[in-house]
């Protein structure tokens, strides 16, 4: 890829092991984060980026321990603010492959404002948002993605605020790449991470992740063994929206409303064909809002459109200014537009 072409290739054949640190991984046994870590360690060697050009930036929360476990450059910053640090890194050096690891609380609650602006600016970085619908590190309080009625220590009679849909949020901010994957499907995670990396612009990936201690099995209705065939809709660009064990059900539009049809009997052309590159947000919104209880939950790349990146535009402006005015000199800096001399 253009801006991430390795400047040097010291170890052309990186492997997963090259990205494993000597630190003990300290997540709870059975945490979904292990699978995500594993998948990212498998993804990085395949991206053609030298190890020293990766930077993993995080905020605070269980997911944000991530940088300590990736053998590359890493910055564990403060709660919710990873997008700002990542923006600074990417603007300073667009050659770097910058990854933000965040959670539903870090990225959408305390850091919601920064996430919004990172997405609308289209900074060329990848966001991995681990959505477990709970605050894990502080021991189990409801999060901005918890369903209404979630009972926790801070909501003993059930939460009352409407949860945020991460994909819809990203779409509202006009993110240029929006995807969803799940922590129990390593193959799908690796594919999604690669696609996110290849995208030129901000990539937002929601990962449905299980918190084994405070919100165990929260996603089982979607990706549990007994449900996944009926409840997951795997998206593939250019292919019809089909799901079910035998891919025998599809999604079609009735006016502006989606409905499920029997794919074996539906008229040809009736079933929607996945077009992530559609610039109109209507189709993306349809997918972002589809899910339980009526519909299967789409996973894969929901939206991918092209727009100039913030980091590239800043550099262009600097280069243009230099071309137009010449590189600034001491004389110009110190003297300014007008001076006078006292003899």
């Amino acid at each position: 890829m253009a801006t991430e072409t390795p400047t040097i290739s010291p170890t052309p054949e990186l492997t997963r092991k090259d990205f494993v640190t000597t630190n003990d991984v300290r997540w709870c046994p059975g945490c979904g984060d292990y699978a995500i870590l594993n998948s990212l360690q498998r993804t990085f060697p395949e991206l053609g980026v030298p190890r020293e050009n990766f930077v993993v930036v995080s905020g605070i929360g269980c997911s944000s321990r991530f940088p300590y476990y990736m053998e590359t450059y890493g910055f564990h910053s403060i709660h919710g603010r990873a997008p700002s640090v990542a923006t600074g890194i990417k603007v300073a050096n667009p050659e770097l492959s910058v990854w933000i690891v965040t959670g539903d609380g870090d990225g959408l609650s305390i850091g919601g404002n920064h996430m919004l602006h990172l997405l609308r600016r289209n900074v060329n970085v990848t966001v991995l948002l681990f959505n477990n619908r709970i605050y894990g590190l502080t021991k189990g309080q409801y999060s901005p993605t918890s369903p209404v009625g979630t009972r926790t220590k801070t909501t003993p009679t059930g939460s009352i605020d409407n949860p945020l849909n991460p994909l819809l949020f990203a779409l509202g901010a006009e993110a240029t790449f929006i995807a969803r994957t799940v922590d129990n499907n390593p193959k799908h995670m690796v594919e999604t991470f690669k696609a996110a990396h290849e995208h030129q612009g901000v990539s937002f990936v929601e990962i449905m992740q299980n918190c084994v201690i405070f919100n165990d099995s929260a996603w089982d209705p979607v990706y549990g063994k007994e449900n996944r065939d009926d409840q997951m809709l795997f998206l593939d660009a250019g292919k019809p929206l089909l799901f079910g064990k035998n891919k025998d059900r599809g999604i079609r539009l009735n006016g502006l409303t989606p409905e499920i049809v029997d794919a074996t009997t539906a008229a040809p052309g009736d079933i929607l064909v996945h077009q992530p590159e559609q610039s109109s947000p209507l189709y993306s919104q349809l997918l972002a809002t589809m899910g339980l209880p009526e519909f299967p939950t789409p996973v894969g790349v929901i939206r991918q459109i092209q727009r100039p990146t913030y980091d590239a535009l800043i550099h262009t402006q600097v280069q243009d200014a230099k071309a137009k005015r010449g590189t600034g000199t001491w004389q110009e800096l110190l003297h300014g537009p007008s001076t006078w001399t006292v003899a």
Binding site: E52, S77, S84, T87, A92, G328, L333
Partner: protein, 614 residues
């Protein structure tokens, strides 16, 4: 009437204040008067004083905007205490500013604006211009400025509204005549600003400017004209510069001398915005600016840039400083270089956004959780912001630490002539990154500075992790009690180590005696002026300005011991005074002022005399 009857009275220095509605163009007029005076040359200092409302209702007290210029034939260190001349464009401006005018001072009044409606808005029951006491107390020059400006443009194609807008140049022209200033620099300015795009506006402004000037020449409006002789100025090349401009240039100069690009991220806030605005125009100096979504993001972006090996800088004012606290802590614990500029304003909360104060010193010292020392440098005049910013870049890089630069609204917006430094005289600030041929230990320290060496993303073989969790020297997360104690001590010792590079304090007067006046930041001019005049009168008083607030200068303790009494004037409730008392066990006395305005020389003088007589 012949010109010869207008006799110039020689003055050592003069203070002129222009006041009017915020739409009357008083800031432009003040700027022009300043630019003309610096080229005479005169020593000069300025103080713009404008409301926080962009356009309060026309004619109201809240909408009054003013600009004060102090020019003299010898050193001018402050914008002056009371104006010798006050130019008022409407009754509200008179109501707000008259109390300050010296007795017998020149009062130039735009009579056209003294209508019943305007008088009512300024809460006048009767027309003050008809008050015999006023006419007796001041040298009042009533002029129908609006009417004469419009009359001068009777052949102009401009609309009546546009014609009315030229009246500030009439006031300026007349003031130029009173003080024998040339009008050519202003004509050049008008032409450069309007001649190309709107020649009819350029023409109108010039005609009105001249009409104002000629009014003095051709009528017996006033008997008095004043002459301020050329100042004895140190030879060299000069420019006029404001505090915010100087701050921006100092940052660029620091980055250039460090050999790293500058990345500045800020969020608009009065009165710090000018730093971001200035830097945004310097892209061809490898300056990248990011207008962030909020104050927190602004410092986060700057810190990310520092982490990536560039010069990360942010600037803000009081409320923004509150928001940046957590990130300053992160910069401190990750030991990354970072410059944070705080252009102080009246607080707490939104407070007085456009007014000046020095009330963030304790915040800069202690406004973070945990044991979190950071070096602090304070600028002491508008042009000195250059040196303060440059110095902050030096300390940040040499000691791998966040550094706070304290400026204030008075310095930021004030301007003065600046003798342009020779770039060769500025020291090299470059600090090498880690050597990829050596194993990297993230928190290994330079034995002298105690700083750590940065390895930046992209450097082969130096991959490592940093973050807000406490680390041991190898860079691993550590909860070990002894390690936390040791790292806390090391971070403090590193900041203390900066003291070795602090030059000796500069003293006005002697290093011992009866009374030392000690200040920091923008009070420098007022304190020095007061002490110089008192010394000339034979009083045993000296003064100093503390540039380094953390660590404090190594020679400060001995200096304080050399005096019977210590006075600490501050635009806060005695913050430095408290530090000096705690740190040096000295019975320092505070002179506190919290009115959103700088000290007057007379205020400091009076307190000094009181203490000397006690």
């Amino acid at each position: 009437m012949s010109l010869s009857t207008h006799v110039f009275r020689e003055m050592k220095s003069v203070v002129v204040r222009f006041a009017g509605d915020s739409g009357d163009g008083m800031q432009i007029v003040g700027e022009r008067f300043t630019d003309t005076s610096v080229t005479v040359p005169n020593a000069i200092a300025t103080f713009p004083d404008y409301p926080s409302e962009i356009r309060a209702p026309v004619g109201t007290i809240a909408g009054v905007s003013a600009f004060q210029v102090h020019f003299g034939s010898s050193a001018v260190l402050t914008p002056g205490d009371e104006p010798d001349a006050l130019v008022v464009m409407n009754p509200a401006a008179l109501a707000v500013h008259l109390y300050d005018l010296v007795e017998g001072g020149l009062l130039i009044v735009n009579t056209a604006a003294f209508t019943p409606e305007n008088l009512e808005m300024a809460h006048y029951i009767t027309n003050p211009l008809e008050d015999p006491a006023l006419l007796k107390k001041y040298d009042v020059i009533p002029i129908d400025i609006t009417g004469l400006a419009v009359q001068a443009l009777k052949d102009s194609p401009l609309s009546n509204r546009e014609k009315l807008r030229t009246k500030n140049f009439f006031a300026l022209g007349f003031t130029y005549w009173v003080y024998g200033r040339p009008i050519e620099p202003t004509i050049d300015y008008i032409n450069s600003k309007w001649a190309k795009k709107t020649p009819e506006i350029a023409d109108a402004n010039i005609r009105v400017l001249k009409a104002g000037y000629f009014l003095g020449e051709t009528t017996e409006t006033t008997r008095n004209r004043y002459m301020v002789a050329r100042a004895e100025v140190e030879p060299g090349t000069y420019r006029k510069i404001s505090g915010n401009e100087a701050m921006a240039l100092g940052l660029i100069a620091g980055a250039k001398k460090a050999g790293r690009p500058l990345l500045f991220s800020g969020y608009p806030i009065t009165p710090a915005t000018g730093v971001l605005e200035t830097l945004a125009a310097y892209k061809h100096f490898d300056v990248k600016t990011v207008q962030a979504e909020d104050e927190i993001a602004a410092i986060g972006v700057a810190l990310g840039a520092s982490y990536a090996g560039q010069i990360g800088v942010t600037a803000t004012s009081g409320p923004g400083m509150c928001l940046k606290g957590e990130f300053i802590g992160l910069a401190l614990v990750t030991e990354l270089p970072l410059v944070i500029v705080n252009v102080q304003r009246g607080g707490p909360s939104t407070g007085l956004p456009t007014k000046t104060e020095q009330s963030d010193l304790l915040q800069a010292l202690y406004g973070r959780h945990g044991e979190s020392p950071v070096p602090i440098v304070a600028a002491n005049s508008p042009s000195d912001c250059f040196r303060a910013a440059f110095e902050a870049v030096r300390i940040a890089l040499a000691y791998s630490t966040p550094v706070i630069v304290l400026s204030d609204g008075y310095l930021a917006n004030g301007s003065e002539p600046w003798k342009i430094p020779d770039d060769a005289s500025l020291p090299d600030l470059s600090v090498p990154f880690a050597d990829p041929s050596q194993p990297y230990v993230a928190y290994a320290r330079n034995p002298e500075t105690l700083s750590r060496t940065l390895a930046i993303p992209g450097q082969v073989g130096l991959e490592h992790r940093i973050g807000g969790l406490e680390k041991d020297s190898s860079g691993c997360v550590s909860y070990d009690p002894e390690n936390h104690s040791e790292m806390t001590r090391l971070r403090a010792a590193k900041v203390e180590a900066v003291a070795k590079t602090i030059p000796p304090l500069r003293i006005t007067g002697e290093r011992c005696g009866k009374l030392l006046v000690i200040g920091w930041g923008g009070t420098h001019g007022a304190i020095t002026s007061a002490v110089e005049t008192l010394r000339a009168d034979g009083y045993d008083v000296s003064s100093t300005n503390v540039r380094y607030l953390n660590p404090l200068p190594p020679d400060l303790g001995d200096l304080l011991k050399g005096f019977d009494k210590v006075l600490v004037p501050e635009l806060n409730s005695g913050q430095l005074c408290m530090i000096l008392r705690a740190r040096y066990l000295v019975d320092a006395v505070s002179l506190s002022k919290i009115k959103g305005r700088p000290f007057k020389i007379s205020e400091i003088r009076a307190r000094v005399l009181q203490l000397l007589n006690d």
